[in-house]
């Protein structure tokens, strides 16, 4: 008898949601935004496992016991090294982890590959530019994630914490613009905003994304 696979992590589900299953590529999202969302997904994962907690001002480690997930545990070890008497705001951790965003995403994508959900294809466009695609092998998982999130934003039930966080990640990256028609989006926007702010990491993520985008815009303007 084979051991059942662990459920998909928040980051893995977010990446599936961000994947245009028809094109096998991520929807168009700014790299800095994707990095912040990746960081947010990791912090949310640790928060769901009660290893970290936060109030309106700061985020702190509450339990250093490993979760068993190497990605989460490496971040937990890093956070546990921070001085306890100098707790940092959520945006501090989001920005710090966002610097590792690409490496963290790569790990999560490899796990999705290993589970046989996606495969990796490297192609050349015009024989010069490299383009990576992630065609789906099985669409069961992506369908399940999309249906669940649509249920959250189009229904009126109290969302589960995991789904509430996934909604915040999707909202911060503008994924609902791709998943919903403009009419559906207009109707669902109040509910999406309400769900996305229910956990404090969501609004902090939106703030970090705005700040980083502003910094990039300012830097570009001075060139």
């Amino acid at each position: 008898m084979t051991t059942p696979l662990p459920p998909l992590t928040l980051l893995e589900e977010f990446l599936l949601l961000a994947l245009n299953d028809e094109a096998g590529q991520f929807y168009s999202i700014a790299r800095s935004t994707l990095d912040c969302a990746t960081a947010g997904a990791i912090l949310m994962g640790l928060s769901l496992q009660r290893r970290i907690d936060n109030d309106l001002k700061t985020m702190f480690v509450t339990d250093t016991q490993p979760t068993g997930d190497e990605m989460l545990d490496s971040v937990l070890r890093m956070m546990a090294l921070a001085p306890v008497l100098e707790p940092k705001p959520i945006t501090h951790w989001l920005k710090q982890l966002a610097e590792e965003g690409e490496a963290l995403r790569e790990q999560a994508l490899r796990r999705l590959e290993t589970r046989g959900i996606i495969k990796r294809e490297d192609r050349k466009i015009l024989w010069v530019f490299g383009a990576r695609r992630y065609p789906l092998i099985h669409d069961k998982e992506i369908r399940e994630v999309k249906l669940r999130i649509l249920g959250v934003i189009l229904g009126d039930d109290i969302p589960a914490p995991h789904d509430m966080m996934l909604t915040a990640l999707a909202q911060a990256c503008g994924l609902f613009n791709h998943i919903l028609s403009s009419q559906e989006l207009t109707a669902a926007l109040p509910r999406i905003d309400a769900v996305a702010r229910m956990d404090l990491i969501g609004p902090a993520l939106a703030k970090a994304v705005t700040e980083i985008e502003a910094a990039i815009a300012m830097a570009s303007g001075f060139r």
Partner: protein, 135 residues
């Protein structure tokens, strides 16, 4: 209001015979049967972990209406608020009513910042919540 008699999952003993959940008290409103749960002073990740299974067990054995009394809770975190939602969702799924009351300034600020009022009714006193549930 009287202390609930008989089995109370929040006051059971664990395998080592140690009394658990000493900081959380459950009272039952005599007329409506609503469970009124007194939250601890600090309602954070550690407190919610201790509390969650016990309250969920209370729901399994038939509790249908639950009111969290936060009058002693001077500090609450995101994990504490998440616990409100988990309980509200479970109570609602069981066809019951859920409310919080006596939110202290720090808890109220967090509650409002997260827009919780959209999903969870908050009252000044347990008696207000009981009256609303009975209406």
């Amino acid at each position: 209001m009287r202390r609930k008699r008989g089995f109370n999952p929040l006051h059971r003993n664990d395998k080592e015979g140690q009394h658990i959940m000493q900081t959380v008290r459950i009272m039952q409103h005599p007329a409506t049967g609503s469970e009124i749960v007194q939250l601890p002073v600090r309602f954070d990740a550690a407190a919610t972990e201790e509390m969650e299974n016990n309250i969920l067990l209370a729901l399994k054995i038939g509790t249908r209406s639950m009111i969290l009394d936060a009058s002693n809770t001077t500090y609450i975190t995101a994990a504490g608020l998440r616990m409100f939602l988990v309980l509200a969702k479970d109570v609602k799924a069981a066809g019951g009513n859920f409310a919080v009351c006596n939110l202290q300034p720090q808890a109220k600020e967090l509650f409002d910042a997260c827009g919780m009022a959209m999903f969870i009714p908050a009252y000044s006193q347990p008696i207000d919540a009981v009256a609303q549930m009975a209406a």
